[in-house]
């Protein structure tokens, strides 16, 4: 990196906020897509929007690419500096600017940890609904970039449904303040367009989020399935829950290998070790509502072959059941050193057959598969346990991952339900979108970032972009 550039940035945000020594840079060369890494050349840690804008103005002058980074918990390589340039991490922008209990929103720094937001509004009996499994580490800004989901997305939807406003710094360092909380966007919904753009439009520094009232009663339920057919039975029970219009807030399935890993780990949740699948559900609402729904679910899961049904007796047991689910990815470290967390979606009527298909694909490539999924949304996480030092095995993992995605898309599904495309799925995106679709998206990307310096090589391939020249009339309008 240019010495003069570093000096200029140091003057702007202080020496400690400009990371350029090899040792400290090491921690930024990968994210949670463990099989890939890219050395960072420069990392900036601005404290606020102004500092970020200042840095981005300087970087624009030098024509340097910018890679936004939250906590680095992304699973598709979205925070990897694969094209070099500067990583701007939001980790110091974790202020809670405002919690407004009357109007039901909060305004926070993009680097705030997801779970800290819920803690910040707890005293008002409010919470922030999107709850990715990594919520103890991931940031709100990262959630915005990836339109993150989580188990409770079944009831509350993904991040995009909870974002009311943003402050975005453009690649040129201009500050676009769209942070005002509003019922509906006035004009084009630029905020809605930005959410899920994986850091390719600009860098969000402040986020205005919608807060939800805490439910009066929450019950956590566990249905246990055993035997060879257990996983199928659990899937069928989920289909029936949905068909009947029962409304739990979360519907999760964990398979036997996942249960084994969780129970061997410090996340041990008390899932029976002999289970071939467990169905973890949460029901929220008024006491009457919850009681009725839980009774219906209990009868239903038993009808679909559950050998055991538990209702968490207290908050501690509830927390423990969830600890197991949310710690599942970490727990899989006991099976193998690395974990490839796949993220695919199928129409929820295809759950059973797709779960079977993923098992067959894993067997074909002789890989260990541990599946956890947001069953209610048809969002599968077939996780492959492997050792990245074994190049041959890693190659098989990549092949199996791609095959799983292809099978899901062929069944009418999607490449990603909550992790994004990143670098991982760029090659497969053509399965979902035509060149025309991608060209339109590419043009929108250029509208935000004309010089394509924001997070290059992520989210959508740009090869099909920019063929169509603006007409003279279009140019007239722009002048």
């Amino acid at each position: 990196m240019d010495r003069a550039l570093i000096t200029e940035l140091q003057k702007l945000i202080g020496k400690d906020a400009v990371v350029s020594d090899t040792t400290r840079l090491l921690s930024y060369e990968s994210d949670a897509l463990a099989m890939c890494s890219a050395p960072a050349e420069l990392v900036l840690l601005p404290r606020d929007t102004q500092e970020t804008a200042g840095c981005m103005k300087v970087l624009a002058r030098y024509g340097i690419p910018i890679v936004p980074r939250g906590a680095g918990t992304g699973l598709t390589g979205g925070a990897l500096p694969i094209a070099g340039g500067a990583v701007i991490a939001t980790s110091r922008m974790r202020k809670v600017f405002e919690v407004n209990p009357v109007d039901g929103f909060a305004r926070v720094g993009a680097g705030l940890i997801n779970v800290a937001l819920t803690h910040a509004c707890k005293s008002h009996n409010l919470f922030y609904a999107p709850d990715p499994s990594s919520q103890k580490a991931c940031t709100i800004g990262g959630n915005v970039a990836n339109n993150s989901g989580g188990p409770h997305g079944f009831k509350y939807g993904s991040t995009t449904q909870h974002i009311l406003g943003l402050v975005v710094v453009t690649p040129d360092g201009d500050i676009i303040d769209m942070s005002a909380a509003r019922v509906d966007p006035v004009g084009l919904d630029l905020v809605g367009l930005f959410v899920g753009s994986e850091g390719t439009f600009g860098l969000a520094t402040e986020v205005t989020v919608k807060l939800e009232p805490c439910p009066e009663v929450v019950e956590t339920l566990l249905a246990v399935y055993t035997g060879e057919d257990g996983l199928n039975q659990a899937c069928d029970a989920v289909s029936e829950i949905i068909a009947l219009g029962l409304e739990p807030s979360a519907i999760e399935i964990l398979d036997s290998l996942t249960i084994e890993a969780v129970e061997d780990s410090l996340y041990s949740a008390g899932y029976p070790r002999d289970a071939s699948a467990v169905l973890l559900l949460e029901v929220e609402g008024t006491a009457t509502e919850v009681r009725g729904t839980c009774d219906d679910i209990e009868a239903l899961v038993k009808r679909f072959g559950a050998v055991e049904f538990r209702r968490a007796q207290d908050e501690a047991e509830r927390a423990k059941l969830w600890e197991g689910r949310k710690g599942a990815f970490g727990a899989m470290g006991r099976i193998a050193p690395d974990l490839y967390v796949a993220d695919a979606v199928v129409p929820r009527t295809k759950l059973r057959e797709m779960v079977r298909a993923t098992v067959a694909i894993a067997e074909k490539y002789n890989l260990k598969l541990a599946t956890v999924f947001h069953a209610g949304d048809g969002n599968l996480h077939p996780n492959i346990c492997y050792d990245r030092r074994n190049k041959e095995e890693t190659a098989r993992v990549v092949k199996a991952g791609a095959e799983i995605l292809k099978a899901c898309v062929a069944a009418g599904g999607s490449l990603t339900g909550e992790h994004g495309i990143g670098i991982e799925k760029l090659d497969e995106i053509g399965l979902l979108f035509t060149d025309d679709d991608l060209e339109a998206m590419g043009r929108v990307r250029r509208a935000w970032d004309p010089t394509l310096r924001m997070n290059p090589g992520k989210a959508i391939p740009l090869r099909a972009c920019g063929e169509l020249g603006d007409s003279p009339r279009g140019d007239e309008e722009s002048s």
């Binding site: 509906d184 084009l188 919904d189 949304d377 490449l415 992790h419 339109a440 998206m441």
Partner: protein, 389 residues
């Protein structure tokens, strides 16, 4: 009709047939624009592409619309040479109750979709009862239904879309899935985009479980302020009403509550309401005309919004019902007959900074500097040929 307009109409008829291109009067009364514009109603995607090809070749701008029921509530698009109505691009493409999705052509009437979904044992929101509103029109105007309090805005229901950006390019985003983050959410920009980014062809909406029972209640109140205080207590309770509305007209002021769900849950909510609001009268669903004027605020400013709307009504001597949705903080005037006119808009009282006028809408309004630039850039990106008015 001028010679050139007649000529254009004949050319449009050459594409869509003589019966399907005719003059319409979409704008607010009292505008200085020519009262008429030719509206072409293509029978399928191919004809729609033909129309866009004609527009591009002749440098004409197109106004996309559904049945045109809401065009009277926006500032006229002066550059529009003709309108393309999706009315004949109609029908359900895929109704998948178990997957929780509905995909339909943009010109399908919302009311038909609401019924089809109900027959399949699911519920569609917004529950729009206007017989004219189309799916595409509801999306382009981000229409709010009476059940938004529970289900959220239309943009939260919109899962995917395909739109024509030009004769050659159709653009898809999202998909027919309840959860999906692949690609940019271009459909979010089309939602509320008033057809400035393209012609919406088809869209996918999320379905909800149907409700075992639905009940409506009403209670007379002295004034909006009192109604609001009661509404706030309802909203603060743990129930999940579908709607809480205050109506104020010549006939008086009343609070309306719409409940739905499992029978035991609704019974319990009713019991709770009786404690906070006193005895409630069962009533029929509210039937309202179209909103002619609408402002949004935050919940804390809901009273201010209602007061401004009441002020506008008095100043313009309008015979209209004031509707306040305190839970979503929107206040409107609903009319039974004529919409508000351009001249009347000019006489509206100044709008306090906590409020934003959303109807009549002004797609060409002045935005904050950076935002305006970005909006223009996004519009150019999706409409590089400058076809859409």
């Amino acid at each position: 009709m001028s010679d050139s307009q007649e000529h254009l109409e004949r050319r449009l008829q050459g594409i869509v047939g003589a019966d399907n291109a005719s003059a319409c009067q979409p704008w607010l009364p009292g505008t200085s624009l020519p009262a008429e514009i030719t509206q072409a109603r293509p029978a399928g995607e191919e004809q729609a592409r033909e129309l866009l090809r004609l527009a591009a070749a002749d440098g004409l701008r197109v106004l996309p619309c559904g049945a045109g029921s809401k065009l009277g509530l926006e500032v006229p698009r002066e550059k529009a040479s003709f309108a393309i109505s999706t009315e004949r691009l109609s029908g359900i493409i895929a109704l998948e109750p178990a997957d929780g999705t509905l995909t339909a052509w943009a010109g399908t009437p919302m009311v038909d979709l609401v019924h089809a979904v109900a027959s399949a044992g699911r519920r569609l929101t917004p529950n729009i009862t206007s017989t004219r509103a189309t799916l595409g029109g509801a999306i382009a105007t981000a229409e709010t239904g009476a059940d938004r309090l529970r289900y959220g805005p239309l943009r939260d229901q919109l899962l995917g879309m395909r739109a024509l950006l030009s004769a050659e390019i159709s653009s898809k985003s999202g998909g027919r899935l309840v959860k999906n983050v692949a690609g940019y959410d271009l459909h979010r920009a089309h939602c509320g985009g008033r057809g400035r980014l393209g012609l919406i062809l088809e869209a996918t909406l999320r379905l909800h479980p149907s409700l075992a029972i639905e009940q409506h209640f009403t209670q007379a109140v002295d004034n909006v302020r009192q109604g609001l205080a009661l509404a706030e207590s309802v909203l603060a309770s743990t129930g999940r009403p579908l709607g809480v509305r205050i109506l104020a007209s010549k006939e008086g002021t009343s609070l309306h509550i719409h409940l739905g769900g499992r029978e035991d849950v609704v019974e319990q909510e009713k019991a709770q309401l009786a404690i906070s609001c006193g005895a409630l009268e069962p009533s029929k669903p509210i039937q309202l005309g179209q909103p002619m004027l609408s402002v949004q605020s935050l919940r804390s400013s809901a009273l201010k919004a209602a007061e401004w709307v009441a002020d506008a009504r008095a100043k313009l001597s309008l015979d209209a019902t004031l509707v306040l949705d305190p839970g979503i903080a929107v206040a409107s005037l609903a009319h039974e007959s004529a919409p508000i006119s351009r001249l009347q808009i000019a006489q509206l009282p100044p709008c306090p900074s906590q409020l934003q006028v959303v109807l009549p809408s002004d797609p060409m309004r002045e935005a904050a500097p950076g935002v305006a630039q970005l909006e223009a850039a996004v519009q150019r990106a999706l409409d590089p040929l400058g076809i859409f008015a």
